[in-house]
């Protein structure tokens, strides 16, 4: 039996009407700390080297490098700061959506019946702040996985339990 009925696009559930939930504000702190450490270690190293060095050329040149690194650190922090509000997610009856990015905004939607497996990951900092990362994998290429950082631990766990239940009921 083959049917091919017309679908009324206007009556379908709309992605644009979604009420998106923000992630935990504490995650911004983790992001900033991560950036701080990534740039902080070379900056600190350079400062020490500058203090110990006797090479005049190096001493003259290193402040410029230091300044560039500092500028890059502040800029990166600013970009992550601006973009933070854009990190939102929504759960629907049959799929999960996540959106992020300020300069390049991405909205990913992953239907429940395409989930391969799910995972909760918690970094050292995330554990300290009581946060968790929820990873949802589909069978596609790497870009087709949905990764929500910075969920409160209990939210992540309840989502995980919910999704596991959905997957188990599917078969």
């Amino acid at each position: 039996m083959f049917t091919n009925e017309q679908i009324d696009v206007a009556s379908l559930p709309k992605l644009e009407d979604l009420q998106m939930n923000p992630i935990d504000r504490k995650y911004l702190l983790i992001l900033l700390l991560n950036i701080f450490f990534t740039y902080g270690i070379p900056i600190f190293g350079l400062l020490v080297a500058n203090y110990l060095s006797v090479n005049k050329q190096f001493k003259d040149f290193s402040p410029y490098v230091l300044f560039t690194l500092l500028l890059m650190m502040v800029l990166t922090m600013l970009i992550y700061g601006i973009g933070f509000k854009k990190r939102v997610y929504a759960l629907r009856e049959r799929d999960i959506c996540y959106s992020h990015g300020y300069f390049i905004n991405k909205l990913i939607a992953l239907p429940f019946n395409r989930i391969q497996h799910i995972e909760i990951a918690r970094s050292f900092l995330a554990r300290k702040f009581g946060l968790a990362t929820l990873k949802i994998y589909s069978a596609g290429e790497s870009g087709s996985d949905l990764v929500i950082h910075g969920l409160p631990k209990d939210v992540a766990e309840s989502q995980y339990a919910f999704l596991t239940q959905v997957i188990n009921e599917r078969v």
């Binding site: 091919n4 679908i7 049959r94 300069f103 905004n105 939607a109 019946n113 069978a139 596609g140 087709s144």
Partner: protein, 497 residues
């Protein structure tokens, strides 16, 4: 009843020792070629080495060969396989004993291949692809062909995803066979720009690596005069570069022709209700089965020259197939009618329903910006060359401009309840890809800062192997399409594999 007993553990064909030896020797050579090259160069440099040194080298080579042989024999003796209770078992390993088992229901596909060495000793290799993790390799490297075919049949017997009948190719009519002249034609009409670039990059990369050696031998002294940029030698330089480029073009043509001939030698396609079976290859003979349910994306491609000659290529991607195998799901040298027939087999009723929707003209603007930056970059290099070279800009502008125009002209998309279609191309190539809508894994709408101001977005549709990207369409449209795809995927609940 089968003539082979797979129930009790059995070894592969004794010729397997040769095959394993060959594979191991190849691995050693591949790993140590730089080291060997170094020794050879050292040997040449130091003139004819002493008798003692020569003896040492010969002794070393013999020792390595002997060791490889012993390893091969041990690996052969320690490798057994058998079928039991719906599972396929392999036991292997000399020092690390390993036991692999896979249930029949988890088997996705079974490949029978034959590389050059296996062709010489007349055995085939059999490898099993499973769902899920693509790292474990389950393969037997040397089996007599009838035994491999029987084993394949037994392995796929219980699998409900693949309903391949007894593979007896001789009894089934051959749907398509690429003749030698056709393959030659395919090879000549390839887009040589790609292999040209590969060879060009290779030569440039090699030049830096071999500079030391070349200098030490004093090979370049004779040609030094070519590179002096005095007034008279500008003409010489141009002539040199022209000969260089013509030689490279010639080599790249030869390269793509050989590649085409080797990869697709004796390409044979057999069509049945479940899908296609293809076999091809000169040195590496492969035998693949394509089933409709596992195909993710299908692409028809051609180029200007091929279109004139009536040559089209069909490429398929399957779920979970790793990249190396993906390359082989190609059928070259098809005619327009055959392409239509095969497409209609995998995508019923696709004919005549496609309406071409175009992306926004902003695509032209964005590509123009990119082209402009590319031109600027090239000119920064040209600046250091004699003024004559600035004329290259005229050629480049025409090239870049027309490729921007044709890229836009050839791009279109179409989405309905069953299929997603996206076509594109460039100055020379033209392609169109097809995906069954229910094979969508996930969708992504992305908008850059510049797109946002114009209300545009990219829509990316992920399948289980490759993606389809619809660029620069109005965001409203992208959302509508997404809503439709999500609705259909979620409400139909059809298997994607």
């Amino acid at each position: 009843m089968s003539a082979f007993d797979f129930e009790s553990p059995s070894r592969q064909s004794a010729k397997g020792i040769i095959v394993i030896f060959g594979i191991n020797a190849f691995k050693v050579l591949k790993g140590a070629w730089a080291f060997i090259l170094l020794i050879v160069i050292q040997g040449i440099r130091s003139g004819n080495g002493s008798f003692r040194n020569q003896l040492l080298i010969i002794g070393g080579v013999l020792a390595v060969v002997l060791m490889l042989l012993i390893v091969a024999i041990l690996q052969y003796l320690n490798f057994t396989f058998y079928l039991k209770d719906g599972h396929f078992f392999i036991k292997k390993g000399v020092l690390n004993r390993e036991e692999l088992s896979v249930s029949h229901s988890k088997i996705q596909n079974v490949y029978i291949k034959q590389n050059l060495l296996q062709q010489i000793v007349n055995v085939v290799s059999l490898s099993i692809e499973t769902a899920g993790d693509d790292k474990t390799e389950i393969s037997i490297s040397a089996l007599p062909k009838p035994m491999a075919i029987e084993l394949k049949r037994q392995l796929l017997k219980n699998s409900n995803q693949l309903r391949i009948k007894d593979p007896e190719p001789k009894e089934k009519p051959v749907y398509f066979r690429a003749s030698f002249p056709k393959l030659l034609l395919e090879g000549i009409s390839e887009n040589h720009l790609k292999s040209f670039l590969i060879i060009f990059a290779f030569v440039i990369g090699l030049y830096n690596d071999l500079k030391e050696i070349v200098n030490s031998i004093g090979f370049m002294n004779g040609y030094k005069g070519w590179f002096q940029l005095e007034g008279e030698s500008v003409v010489a330089l141009i002539i040199f570069n022209l000969t260089f480029i013509i030689a490279l073009i010639f080599v790249s043509m030869l390269f793509s022709m050989l590649k085409m001939l080797i990869q697709n030698f004796d390409l044979t396609v057999i069509r049945n209700e479940e899908g296609l079976e293809l076999s091809k290859g000169l040195f590496n003979k492969i035998n693949l089965g394509l089933t409709s349910s596992r195909i993710q994306k299908t692409t028809v491609s051609t180029n200007r020259l091929k279109q004139l000659l009536g040559l089209y290529k069909l490429s398929f991607t399957q779920a979970n197939a790793n990249k190396k195998q993906q390359l082989n799901f190609n059928i070259v040298g098809l005619g327009k009618i055959q392409v239509k027939e095969i497409l209609n087999q995998f995508y019923p009723n696709i004919d005549g329903r496609i309406k071409r929707h175009k992306p926004s003209k902003y695509m032209l603007i964005k590509h123009s910006y990119l082209g402009f930056f590319l031109l600027l970059l090239i000119n920064m290099v040209l600046y250091f060359l004699p003024a004559v070279f600035l004329w290259l800009n005229a050629v480049l502008i025409i090239l870049i401009g027309s490729s921007i125009y044709f890229t836009y002209q050839k791009t279109y998309y179409y989405v309905d309840q069953d299929y997603i279609v996206r076509a594109g191309g460039g100055l020379i190539d033209t392609w169109s890809s097809f995906l069954e809508l229910h094979k969508t894994q996930c969708i992504q709408i992305s908008e850059t800062y510049f797109q946002k101001r114009r209300g545009l977005a990219h829509l990316t549709i992920y399948s289980a192997s490759k993606t389809l990207k619809i660029p620069h369409i109005p965001k409203k449209e992208a959302l509508n399409i997404s809503n439709q795809i999500l609705y259909l995927v979620e409400s139909q609940n059809r298997d994607w594999m």
